[in-house]
């Protein structure tokens, strides 16, 4: 295992210390509770937006804490959901009296722990609402699975909903927009290589020099199928077409196109993926209204990419464009 770390046990804590040292003007890190909170939290009268999940997906979620996006993030151990105590501490820290909104990715662990935290917060009189993102079309959304996983849409949703919350919207309004964003977004990912969980020390799965996994999750979970390595053009077809079909995207519609790197894939490759995506969308007469290209929801050092398409309306665009000031996404301020 080749990583820039000191020891597998201290990865999350030390990365948090690094964030605290580099972004003191944007965020506060509470090491005791292992949470990241925006520097000026709680903001009185504002809905507090909280997200979290296992670590190893950086910059998600900690990198999205700050004005116009998240009020707090609770990072768990690598690929392991945070515990209710952490989440509750985050909810308390950002409760400005207008309630707290939880953004949860649909994994059994995340759902259960946020659920327990919500019960505890409500018992303390904090109003709580939540969204469970489930945009991964690689997973059948049926009775026979835990439901689709939450992946790339989470990033877009955090930005858009964070923008709305910053504008002073109510918990109800925030929840309504979050629901809509989640419904209108779909994703799919693939891996060229496995990642290595530090505590395990060896790759989660082995891939041959000429193989790739299609439909992987963001925790090093293997995908739905293993196929021969293919040109970027073909890979993007494999990812984009199921998304477009599942969303029922029609000619003339507008999307936010998000090309995401899994952590070990450099930007130059992501722009080749973006080229193929643009070609496919153009062929179907779907307009790219906004775009995001980069490694924003990662799986440690996994090489690979994911694509997310979000069917956007004017309200979503307004809050996507709204100013944001976080370690990882920043504009307008």
């Amino acid at each position: 295992m080749k990583k820039l770390i000191n020891s597998p046990e201290t990865v999350v804590k030390e990365a948090l210390e690094g964030m605290a040292a580099m972004h003191p003007e944007l965020i506060r890190v509470d090491l005791e509770n292992q949470i990241i909170v925006r520097a000026d939290a709680p903001v009185r009268g504002k809905v507090g937006v909280v997200s979290g999940g296992g670590s190893g997906h950086e910059p998600m979620h900690g990198g999205f804490v700050g004005r116009g996006m998240l009020d707090a993030a609770c990072p768990g151990a690598i690929f392991t959901s945070p515990v209710p105590d952490q989440i509750l501490a985050a909810m308390r820290a950002v409760n400005g009296g207008a309630g707290v909104f939880q953004i949860i990715k649909n994994y059994t662990g995340d759902v259960l722990n946020f659920e327990m935290a919500a019960e505890l917060a409500q018992a303390e009189g904090i109003e709580v609402a939540s969204v469970i993102t489930n945009d991964d079309v690689a997973v059948e959304d049926s009775l026979y699975t835990a439901g689709r996983r939450g992946v790339g849409v989470t990033v877009l949703l955090e930005k858009i909903v964070g923008g709305l919350a910053e504008s002073g919207a109510s918990l109800e309004q925030v929840a309504a927009l979050a629901k809509r964003v989640n419904e209108q977004g779909r994703s799919m990912g693939m891996a060229l290589t496995s990642c290595t969980v530090p505590a395990k020390g060896t790759p989660t799965f082995d891939l041959g020099e000429d193989e790739m996994e299609i439909g992987i999750g963001i925790h090093g979970e293997p995908g739905r199928r293993r196929v021969k390595l293919a040109p970027a053009a073909d890979i993007v077809e494999m990812l984009a077409n199921p998304i477009i079909e599942d969303l029922g995207l029609k000619a003339g519609e507008r999307v936010l196109a998000f090309v995401n790197g899994m952590g070990g894939t450099p930007l130059i490759e992501l722009y080749i993926v973006a080229r193929e995506l643009a070609r496919i969308l153009k062929g179907r007469n779907i307009t790219i209204a906004r775009s995001l290209v980069g490694s924003y929801i990662t799986s440690l050092e996994m090489a690979g990419c994911s694509i997310t398409l979000l069917r956007v309306d004017d309200e979503m665009l307004r809050y996507w464009d709204a100013p944001v000031l976080t370690p990882a996404l920043r504009w307008g301020i």
Partner: protein, 209 residues
């Protein structure tokens, strides 16, 4: 011989030891159908439980199990944290105030734990989860009780049934938890959570022996 407070403390202590030793094994099981952390999660949780041990002396069995439950909830995370946490919390509720557990108490405790997991996880038998180890274990325990077996035998039977249930998860198609994302590819792998459940029951049986 009933199970005493000391037995429960020994159980917890030895379980922590077992999860530490089996950390890599459980994590390896979680790699092909999960996210390669189950052993790490259980080890982290039970090490935290060990740290609480000094504060548990003098407590009744219910309080000990409740403390184990809250500790697991606070330190494990993932799916198994809330699930095992709830199991121990519920087990602690039905054993509140007790310093000894007889056959009926133990069965009530196992039933409460299983119900807690099923309620939290909305899980049923046959979905390739810890339920597939615990449900047959409970059935075997009930059968042993009907046959008026000793508590030691009852727990051995339960552990054996858990082991069989665990092995029976190998050919199963997962429909709960992270393994369900794999669809057909989940077949042929043993569930890590069923394995940790078996380890817990096996350790309890050894302590009661």
């Amino acid at each position: 011989m009933p199970i005493t407070t000391e037995d429960v403390l020994r159980w917890i202590t030895q379980a922590a030891q077992v999860f530490h030793e089996q950390r890599d094994y459980l994590t390896q099981l979680d790699a092909p159908i999960g996210d390669a952390d189950h052993g790490v999660n259980m080890d982290r949780g039970f090490r935290a439980v060990l740290d609480k041990l000094p504060s548990l002396s003098g407590m009744d069995i219910g309080s000990i199990l409740k403390t184990v439950g809250t500790t697991l909830v606070s330190t494990v995370g993932g799916a198994s944290g809330p699930l095992y946490g709830t199991a121990f919390l519920r087990a602690g509720m039905v054993t509140a105030g007790k310093h000894e557990l007889d056959e009926a108490d133990v069965i009530e405790m196992l039933q409460a734990a299983l119900d807690g997991i099923k309620a939290r996880g909305k899980a049923h038998t046959g979905e390739k989860t810890m339920v597939d180890a615990l449900e047959p274990a409970l059935a075997a325990a009930r059968k042993a009780q009907e046959q008026h077996e000793s508590l030691a035998v009852l727990l051995r039977r339960a552990a054996e049934a858990a082991e069989e249930g665990m092995k029976a998860t190998i050919p199963m198609l997962a429909t709960k938890g992270r393994a369900s994302y794999l669809g057909e590819r989940s077949i042929g792998h043993q569930d890590p959570g069923a394995t940790s459940s078996w380890l817990l029951l096996k350790t309890l049986a050894e302590v009661a022996d």
